[in-house]
């Protein structure tokens, strides 16, 4: 085996970016604009998917995509990580609870206004920080909207479900739940469409479609 390429021959390894489809290139570009690492993760996933001589290529590609999906929200200013742990918060509450007169006096005295406010703040923190998977998904994808506005909740809910399904597929596949190439490609396309529809919207094409639907309902 030669230790160096033969200068007279052409390089054989394809340039990763030229091997991508136009839509893949577009999505890589958008993600790289946010952070180079994000673009590299997507390229890595696509290249892993293409390495069919690797028996774990779908698992590795899924792993890259799962990582990408997990890392996207902060780059779109979506805050999903809690500002503190619930254990810490509850511990603080417990100390203050023990100082309440009703606890010290073992009576039925009313809670102090200060403690009630503290309780209120705790539950508000909990709502804001300990997100369900669905809330996390909703918060993330709402940040993809170029207008900065949120979709109506029922529609946002549908989109969150779609996003979670995509994510769940790649999480499962990354953990070596077997999937076929066709299944992988279907879910990859779903991911690509989901992202590009939001980050490179074809708003007026959608408006044309909506015009047609309105016409159908009102003609």
């Amino acid at each position: 085996m030669s230790t160096a390429p033969d200068p007279s021959s052409q390089p054989e390894a394809p340039d990763p970016l030229t091997a991508l489809t136009a839509r893949q290139r577009e999505l890589v570009g958008i993600l790289a604009d946010k952070d180079e690492g994000l673009g590299q993760m997507l390229v890595g996933a696509i290249m892993a998917r293409a390495a069919t001589n690797n028996p774990d290529h779908l698992g590795q590609a899924s792993h890259s995509l799962r990582e990408l999906i997990e890392k996207l929200p902060p780059h779109f200013d979506a805050v999903l990580l809690p500002t503190d742990t619930q254990t810490n918060k509850v511990a603080t509450l417990a100390v203050h609870w023990s100082r309440e007169r009703r606890v010290k006096n073992k009576s039925d005295e009313a809670l102090s206004t200060k403690f009630v406010q503290e309780l209120h703040a705790f539950f508000q923190w909990r709502d804001d920080n300990l997100l369900t998977r669905r809330d996390a998904a909703r918060r993330a994808i709402s940040k993809f909207d170029p207008s900065g506005r949120s979709l109506p909740t029922p529609i946002e809910e549908l989109h969150a479900q779609e996003w979670m399904k995509i994510r769940d597929f790649f999480v499962g596949s990354a953990h070596h739940h077997a999937c076929t190439t066709a299944e992988f490609d279907t879910w990859y396309n779903a991911f690509e469409n989901f992202m590009l529809n939001r980050l490179r919207p074809r708003t007026f094409e959608n408006a044309d479609k909506l015009d047609a639907l309105i016409q159908e309902g009102e003609s």
Binding site: P146, T153, T203, F204, E218
Partner: protein, 967 residues
Amino acid sequence: MAKPDRGLVKRVVATFVNAEDVDYFFDNLTSPDWIEPLADENLFAAPPPPVQVDGGFQLPSWSAMRYLARMAAEDPKAVRKVLWVMPETDNTRVRYDYLDALLSMPPGMAAEFVPRLVGWLQGPFRILLPKRMAQLVGRLALAGFADQAIALATALFDVQVGAPDQTTTDEGETIDWPVEVHSLIDEYQYEQLLMEALPNFLDGTGLRGFGVLTDLLARAMTLEARNPPDDRCDYSFIWRPAIEPHSQNSIPSTRNAIVTAVRSAALQLVRADQVNLAAVVAKLEGYSWAVLRRIALDLIRVSAPNRSALATERLTAPDYMYDSDLHHEYWLLLHERFSSLTPEQQEIVLQAIKTGPPVYDDQDEPYQGDADIGRKAWQARTLAAISDHLPPSERAWYDQLVAENRLSDHPEFLSYMEGVFVGPTSPLNADQLAALSHEQLLEFLQNWDPEGGWNAPSAEGLGRMLESAVKADPERYAEIAPTLAQASPIYISSALQGFRNAAAEGRVFAWEPVIRLVRLTLNRSTTTGPISVETESDAHWSWARSAAAHLLDVGFNNGPAEIPFTFRDAAWSILRPLTDDADPTPESEVRFGGNNMDPSSLAINTVRGQAISSVVKYAVWVHRHLEVLGATPEAAGVDRMPEVRDVLDQHLDLRRDPSYAVHSLYGKWFPWLGLVDEPWAAQNVPNIFLPDEAHFLYWEAAWEAYISFSRPYDSTLQLLKDEYHRAIDRLAAQSPERQHPMLSWQNLASHLMVFYLRGRLTLDDELVQSFFQTGPANLRAVAVRILGRSFYTIKDREALPLDPPPAEESVDRAVVLWESRVAAAIAGEEAATYAPELVEFGWWFPSPAFNPEWALIEITKVLRLVHSVDAGHLVSHRLAALVSAYPQQTLEVLDLMMKGPNDDWLLLGEEDVSKILAAALSLPGEVREKALQITHGLGARGYRQFRSLLEVTSPNITPESNDSAGA
């Protein structure tokens, strides 16, 4: 005809990608048939809540509610059904559209929602709602839903009071200030909405509705009362001098708005014969508050027929006549209706006046001792109402009271506020003054004696008139100027001020007599001191000296009205004494300086300060004339004018003149001192800009004055380079709040950049390095902006080239500096700290002086680094001019701008963006695709107006294939 169903709605929902899709759909629906299937798919189930942002809330609009509001007239039942089950929201923008829907429904349906609306008013979020609610009040009332209209009106127009402000006396006693009611809704809207709602509301609710208003006024009085319920005095004669519209009612307030509404309502009911006058009066007099009883009297005066018992009974009742709270309305009623009383009734009135209110007989009342005077004043005031109808004996009595000065100017009011003071008035107008001969003028100035009194002609007023006259015709008054020295100092200062203003406008006059006037004035003015001296006369002399210094200051200016150089000695002889004036004293500097005035501003408001300023002007005047004369004397600089050197040296010595104000003048005029005598200026830099910390305030006074008033002269830079260094060091040590707002710091940035562009400073120079390394970000940004803005002028958003064009070297220097700042930002750990500087490139980009390729590259870098630029509208204008030559780069910049944190610039830049996109869409390949992306992106942000651009086709695309071009 097809009707939408859930299946179709599901397809619609599947089409939604972004929020704009949803808005587009709802905004384009024209049929109410969608309501039911949309509701079945829960699309009306989640109104968007207010969004908390820094410092407040955003209120998202909701297209679904806008659709319901549009459909409410067509299918009110369907809309009502949806609204009834819709979850509550605090988003008042949604509530606003909700109210629109209710206003479009039949009133009977809308009435069902009133309890919900009342709840809204009791919550904290009311903005946007009152106008619509007021409309609904009227609509409900007219349609016969009086209960609901009254319930809504009561909630909408309710009032409240806050906790009283408190003051603690020197003795430690806490005193509550009187409270005043305020409305739940915007105070400024309150009266307007009350008056708008009133006609329909009363038409529909009659006396019941009127009761809502009178109860509201009574509630307001109860809330304001200091000792309810015993004290029923409402003090309305103070805050509402007249119930009828009157200029005395000058203070708008919630309670005044309610009084106006109650009065209007009463008149409306009576004039429409909806309720009889007696019933309305009875309603008003059912309350004990004076203001409501005053409204009753006013209503009787305006509406009761002649000889009405309602008027007669009240006019002849002493309770009404003697009640001072009712004075104004009783007085007007008496004035208008006395003549229609019978002789017997008139006699009752006259007897009651003769008796007078019992308060003057009460030994415990405050009139004790002055009861007779008080009673006579009251009698004169009351008789004035009927003075035209008095029998001869009573007329003589009235005339006697008037002769005793017992009658006020406005007897219809207990107290009367005069108009706004507009300034001193003059006994002579301009024409009368001009018509006086010299002798007459002098005599008048010497002998006219102001009578005194409110707004009466005064010496100040005459002085102002004289100042104007002198300014208008200085030549005439110069002839008699010396004789004016015999007048009061107030007229002397006015005349000198007039000459100064005339000279400033280039009006020529003889200086010799004017200089004599100044000399005579200084001879008469024996004492000197600040303008705030104790006696009025001293103050006037101080004004006269100050006016003399100001006059000389202007007289030394180069121009047609300049003092002839032959008067050098004469001019100096009057200027010199002024430089010794005591004003400013250390005490007056403390009083007027500090946070009130900076030292250089204080200087021109003092005699000595202005005189030292005039000394510098004198020096430049002498210098200029000696240069013109071409004299080559042995001496140079201030040695050619030793009189100047002595004064300058004297006042630069802090032991002899410790005034910060005077010291600041050496900084203010430093370039001119350098012009007159550079060695003297150089030698005295350490004395003017005192470097040690102990004299920091003197340094600051001189430096601030220098940097604020002086242009960046190259010669000065050489002398003051150390001071620029010191300023930068001290700038870095300033607290942030002192760094930005001060013009002087901005001027420092400006000076440095001008010197840099001229090549007097280089990028490697320690001054420039130090400024950019230690200066605060906002000042660095100012410097960068100044540099960019140096290369064009703006007209109609167009950046026009300078004429003549800037030297290539300065453009190159600017480019080098800019690139160094970008390099620093890229190398720096936190690009955000450079953001204020980098966004300023928006002010560079429009300039035609810079290579467009370079400018496109640099702005792209900026946008990638900090995501926005300033002056986006100017940038887009320039991009529109560049798109045909640089389509890809232009689109790249536009795309990056669109992704920025705000799109305010699109308000002005919309037309240019259209031009850019239209040009790019007509091109093939990647350019068109990029333009499509941007156009759709604009659509996703709600800019639907760009949709028509998609009709633009490129040469390679047939219209049929156009739709799929970007797919």
